[in-house]
């Protein structure tokens, strides 16, 4: 059982998913997003291999209208 912070909200997982699996769950697969883990960018190429770890702080972002 692990806990992470995702865009400021707490999430639990029975077993740590890969970033790719997490993106899948969030229905964000194929969308233009970017992910930061503990202040570091996670390159898209590494989503399949990288597993989230207990205590991770993740930020998942998209582009929105702005000036």
């Amino acid at each position: 059982m692990i806990a992470i912070t995702l865009n400021g909200e707490s999430r639990q997982f029975a077993s740590p998913p890969t970033i790719a699996q997490l993106v899948e769950q969030l229905e964000l697969a194929g969308k233009r997003i970017a992910i930061e883990r503990n202040g570091e960018i996670v390159p898209r190429s590494r989503y399949p291999e990288l597993k989230v770890a207990d205590g991770d702080a993740l930020e998942v972002v998209i582009a929105v209208g702005g000036g």
């Binding site: 909200e9 998209i62 209208g65």
Partner: protein, 272 residues
């Protein structure tokens, strides 16, 4: 029209080695919906559009269209900004995310704000962020105050364009201090674009007549009663101002006007 306009005869905006026909950069915020956003941006003729980087709403409206579906990078140069950032660190992290999001895209707009009420830039934090971003290979267009010494410093740091404010973001107050812009234009060699404060078409024309290389705006278009018509007005105003700058305006004479009609050959006053 009786002549090819300045754009057609070749007066492109050149930044970071690329050229653009339009000198108007527009934001994508504050519109009623994506349809209005797209229609206004089309009317503006803008080739570069700014976007903000924000957290996804986890688990919500997963299927709704996203901004970049409506304004695809294939059609526009996307300029991610750091709106909402109050520290150099947040701005740098936001643009690293933007670069990843946009497949390594390097052209970005840096802005670090001083407070949420005035949205005036925090220049010490902006300078710190600019140094980091330039070192990391970003092509930084930087939102700044109208301090000519700071503008020169930002150029020396390696920013590819400096973007002084005309007035506060969202204020629509127009160009409050054209003299400072003039001093910046006299000193800085990279493109100078006026960013923030434009309220109506003449404000944009004035900025271009001063010799600025371009104008960036959002609220003036999005919050007009008819954003699409205003977008078209802004396109013409930026071109008009640029052409007036290139054409070289007449001298101002407070006095001693000279008539536009010849002063000889006037018919004789009738004897009374």
């Amino acid at each position: 029209m009786g002549r090819p306009d300045a754009v057609a005869v070749g007066d492109p905006l050149i930044m970071a080695g690329k050229t653009w026909r339009s000198r108007l950069i527009v934001g994508t915020g504050k519109y009623k919906d994506f349809a209005e956003t797209r229609a206004a941006i089309d009317a503006s003729g803008a080739e570069i559009i700014t976007v903000a980087i924000r957290r996804t709403n986890i688990g919500q409206n997963a299927n709704e269209p996203s901004l970049l579906d409506v304004l695809p990078p294939s059609q526009f140069t996307i300029l991610p900004n750091t709106a909402g950032c109050y520290t150099a660190d947040d701005a740098v992290r936001t643009l690293r995310l933007a670069r990843e999001l946009l497949d390594g895209h390097a052209l970005v707009k840096l802005e670090v704000l001083g407070d949420a009420e005035s949205l005036y830039p925090n220049m010490p934090e902006t300078i710190a962020a600019a140094k980091t971003l330039v070192a990391e290979g970003f092509q930084v267009m930087v939102y700044c105050n109208d301090d000519p010494i700071v503008a020169k410093q930002l150029e020396e740091i390696g920013c590819i364009a400096v973007m002084p404010l005309a007035s506060l973001i969202g204020s629509g107050m127009g160009i409050l201090n054209p003299w400072n812009l003039q001093i910046i234009l006299d000193r800085v060699n990279v493109p100078v674009l006026v960013d923030a404060g434009i309220g109506t078409a003449s404000d944009a024309a004035i900025a271009m007549e001063l010799g600025c290389d371009g104008v960036l705006m959002n609220t003036a278009i999005a919050k007009a009663r008819d954003p699409v018509m205003m977008a078209g007005a802004m396109k013409k105003a930026v071109e008009a101002g640029r052409e007036a700058f290139l054409a070289g305006r007449m001298a101002k004479k407070i006095y001693q006007a000279q008539a536009s009609s010849p002063t000889d050959g006037i018919i004789a006053p009738r004897k009374s």
